[in-house]
């Protein structure tokens, strides 16, 4: 690993100023960055640990604002949180799919999202939770919808010096589910990831959200399929139709994991399956 200057700021403003410099990297859980530095794919001149900045960890729930998750909260904590399991099941399920327990004890939700992999396991769950991403810098604060955060593989709208501080999940779903299409039970990356969330009212879909990972340059919502579902009874025929519409909205690539055709076909299948389970839970 190339050597670097190491900083442990205790305020966001200080961290932001350091992070705005050239060749600076933020260190959250380190499960991507440290491995990248060992492989020399990441060669930062300065590494800024967020560990000692107060207020960036923990999960809080209140009736007005829903659930808030600090960016430095460990993925393992997200996976086991009763509030998240109850109101955002797909997010807890996605968190439980990352790496191993040892990795989930290190990795943070903010890191998983800021790394901006289109295949990140927590992203589909955050998409269907309609998460609001709070961002801070030395110049102030702003909020971006998770749907508007990503601009390409590894790319976000974050500007130099901007740091994700927390995720707000104001809209709980009565039922949601995430399926990761993979080969190994653990320690695998997703071929694709699909999350669906449904709110039912008297047996009718009041609202449906579908989040897709690893099927386009960024994680996406399948909004056409969502609109198709709204106001209807979740029959198998309707869910199948939604799967087909969701699949048509994807722009997958072929790579060493699988072909674009397989990815698109599996979006169809897994959208239907996650919708069915979300509806059963709702």
């Amino acid at each position: 690993m190339k050597n670097f200057e190491f900083f442990e700021p205790t305020t966001l403003a200080e961290a932001s100023r350091l992070f705005a410099q050239e060749h600076a990297q933020l260190l959250a859980g380190g499960t991507d960055l440290v491995i990248g530095m060992k492989a020399y794919t990441e060669t930062p001149q300065s590494v800024i640990s967020l560990q000692n900045i107060p207020g960036l960890t923990g999960i809080t729930a209140d009736s007005d604002n829903g659930i808030t998750i600090g960016a430095m909260t460990k993925v393992r904590e997200v996976e086991l949180s009763e509030d998240i399991l109850k109101h955002h099941t797909a997010l807890a399920e996605g968190a439980s799919e990352i790496g191993s327990i040892q990795i989930r004890n290190l990795a943070t939700l903010g890191g998983n999202i800021a790394h901006a992999s289109p295949a990140a396991d927590t992203v589909a769950g955050l998409l269907v939770a309609d998460a609001q991403v709070d961002i801070a810098s030395a110049d102030g604060e702003r909020t971006v919808s998770i749907n508007e955060l990503f601009t390409g593989p590894g790319q976000t709208v974050l500007k130099p010096g901007e740091i994700i501080t927390q995720f707000r999940l104001p809209s709980p779903a009565s039922g949601s589910h995430y399926i990761k299409h993979k080969i190994r039970e653990v320690m695998d990356l997703a071929f694709i990831g699909v999350a669906s969330a449904i709110n039912l009212q008297n047996g009718v879909i009041k609202e449906a959200r579908i989040g897709l990972a690893a099927v386009a340059p960024t994680p996406i919502r399948a909004t056409e399929a969502e609109n198709l579902l709204k106001g209807k009874i979740p029959t198998p025929e309707l869910l199948q139709q939604a799967g087909e519409v969701a699949a048509a909205a994807t722009r997958p690539i072929s790579d060493l994991r699988c072909s674009a055709e397989h990815r698109r076909e599996m979006v169809d299948v897994l959208t239907r399956r996650t919708l069915q389970i979300a509806a059963d839970r709702a």
Binding site: F6, L27, V34, Q51, S100, I101, I103
Partner: protein
């Protein structure tokens, strides 16, 4: 590049060290402190051989910068036995033949220790899944699972 002062507790002993930021916790444990029980396998977090317990949680120490472990309590395989008596998990690995070449064993034992400390009431299937971050090339895992389940029984009987 400046070295950083780091104070950490390993197996109950306090260490005040000066560490290069690029040193992983694994390297600090093995090379600086001289505790070579923790093994380096893949060095990318995939194999679990470097698993140690930091503040009660099992982590892959190859992915942790040593400088970020300051102020933390670390337990390695060397810290499990007390008063010359092996930990029930260590004893169970010996009794069942849960090791062959032994390279993955410290990682498996530390991962198991964290699981058992957290919750004894796991099914075999749950243990199998929870140990998915540890890889063994020799045993075929059957004896490892036997060891963990035997240790659970032993701990339950004596607690």
């Amino acid at each position: 590049m400046a070295k950083h002062p780091v104070s950490l507790t390993v197996n109950g002993d306090e260490h005040d060290l000066l560490i290069e930021p690029r040193k992983t916790l694994l390297a600090v444990l093995r090379d600086t402190i001289g505790l070579t029980g923790t093994k380096e396998g893949c060095s990318t977090g995939d194999c679990g051989a470097c698993t140690v317990i930091v503040d009660g949680k099992a982590v892959t120490s190859c992915m942790v910068l040593g400088v970020t472990a300051s102020g933390k309590e670390i337990t390695t395989i060397e810290g499990l036995a007390s008063d010359g008596e092996l930990h029930p998990i260590q004893q169970a690995f010996i009794d069942t033949g849960g090791y062959q070449c032994g390279f993955c064993t410290p990682g498996f034992i530390m991962a198991s220790k964290a699981l058992v400390d957290e919750n004894l009431d796991r099914t075999e299937e749950e243990f199998r899944h929870a140990l998915g971050g540890n890889i063994c090339r020799c045993t075929g895992y059957t004896k490892i699972l036997e060891a963990v389940l035997q240790a659970v029984e032993e701990i339950r009987a004596t607690s």
